[in-house]
Amino acid sequence: MIDLSVTLPGLNLQNPIMPASGCFGFGREYSQFYDLGKLGAVIMKAATGEARLGNKTPRVAETASGMLNAIGLQNPGVEKIVETEIPFLSQFHIPIIANVAGSTIEEYEKVVTVLNESTDLAAIELNISCPNVKEGGIQFGIDPEMAATVTEKVKKRTRVPVYVKLSPNVTNIVDMAKAIEAAGADGLSMINTLTGMQIHLPSKAPLIANKTGGLSGPAIKPIAIRMIYEVKQHVTIPIIGMGGIETAEDVLEFLLAGADAVAIGTANFLNPFVCPDIIEQLPAVLKKYGFTSVKEATGGAHQ
């Protein structure tokens, strides 16, 4: 018997597979396809202080082995999420993780305060890749000090463990991770998308209405693996890994690099069953490479 379970701060996972934030809405659509109770956990679409409409369309573009997206944090606002989305997801009895976004520290604080009202929330994934409107649009996620500050403030307000989601658009991912660990984060989630662009030849202009978009999918997997491998050598808090996962072999690659669990985003679009498919295939893949559990594989490439 291969043991798929993983225990992380706030998260008792029956398996290490969860859908990534923004690629799974609040689970309603994919619950038509399969029983979400099979998942290790679920990470909801970003929640902000108020409802947001997001960006103009087009919001997505296809790229070689990947895609760009600039949804722009469209969501019904944290209150509505607490009222209607968390209760919907709680029927599946799997840990629910809220992805928290904001344009100011105050907005982050507000979101986590409202989330405290829910008794069904297992953890927070702190999305610090949003532009900080007060600081002139600079992202919290590219400056170690700003990232540490928002982590600390959020930690003070929330009841649940906080996983800070790292942006890969930085010169030194290890500095970011260390600053966030020192600020009290319970875990890291990595990586978010890389900033990219596609030019639409007929209109001679960026295809995505927002001009730039976040690159995800298999194209970015080597970058995700490298960053997780590097960060793993410098922090002790657990890592939820993501970026281009499509198969159970990919999951093992993330585990070996240092991830304790993984999230799957873009691949849901091609195969809505990708999460349960991988959960089913993972034991055989672990066995093939000589592992008896997920825990055993984590960090296996660091010898």
Binding site: C23, G25, R28, T57, R59, L270, P272
Partner: protein
């Protein structure tokens, strides 16, 4: 309910310049598809599926017809698929054209432009079954792109328009609106500028429009394919709430 299905290619043929008609076999989808719904099709080598409207179903033969224009790498690859191969499809997706909504119309006008023609053809066949009288305007770039003219003629009076006048009437679909007889309701599908022109010209009429937008998931989870709406909700999802909306429900 949307299912992930394997569909077998029964036939695939070019019916106009860069335009392919493909007949696919699948029991579930042929039994459940309604006009205006689409298939979300996986294509080798592509990260995202491609949305293509359902152009006809034959529930006895358990087949579904799609019609697509080769405009990029995805449709180019799809056009190379051979009879006998199976394709991986999500479907049927979205909400189609309402037919039974409100008072049943006695006469309708169908307006299709280019690759917006396929879904309104499927709709026309349904309307005819319900005993509704159908007249159609179908518009194309030029003569070489015209398809399904006879099929539409079989449904009722049909006006063919080409932008360059190389076939049928010259101009845009809206240029022949004055040639149509009175109708209770209209349905339209085509590029956004055409839909704008149609809804402007037919303001005051009950109408339904089918929209296109670049999609991620195709099932309502990713918020890629939204369209601004008149109500406070702000945005609707084309893949899930649409692709068909009432002409006055969304902001063009």
């Amino acid at each position: 309910m949307i299912k992930k299905e394997a569909m077998k290619i029964i036939s695939s043929k070019q019916i106009a310049t860069d335009t392919v008609e493909m007949v696919l076999e699948n029991e579930y989808i042929s039994n459940h598809a309604t006009p205006g719904q689409f298939l979300h099709i996986a294509i080798t080598g592509h990260t995202l599926r491609r949305p293509l409207s359902i152009a006809a179903v034959d529930s006895k033969a358990r087949t579904v017809t799609i019609l697509f224009k080769i405009i990029g790498s995805g449709t180019e690859t799809l056009a190379t698929y051979q009879v006998g191969e199976t394709i991986d499809v999500l479907g049927p997706n979205g909400n189609g054209f309402p037919v039974q909504t409100g008072q049943k119309p006695a006469t309708v006008l169908l307006i299709g432009g280019g690759i917006g023609v396929p879904p309104i053809y499927f709709l026309g066949t349904q309307l005819k079954k319900f005993g509704i009288q159908v007249q159609s305007i179908i518009g194309f770039q030029s003569r070489d792109y015209v398809f399904y003219e006879n099929e539409f003629q079989a449904l009722g009076e049909t006006f063919v328009v080409t932008n360059d006048g190389s076939y049928g009437y010259k101009g845009f679909v809206t240029d022949v609106l004055d040639k149509t007889s009175r109708f209770d309701r209209y349905y339209s599908c085509g590029p956004l500028p055409m839909l704008r022109a149609v809804s402007d010209n037919l303001r005051g009429n009950e109408g339904y429009l089918s929209f296109e937008e670049r999609m991620g998931c195709g099932v309502g989870a990713c918020y890629a394919c939204v369209i601004p709406t008149e109500d406070e909700a702000g945005y609707k999802k084309i893949c899930q709430d649409g692709p068909v909306f009432r002409a006055n429900e969304v902001i063009l």
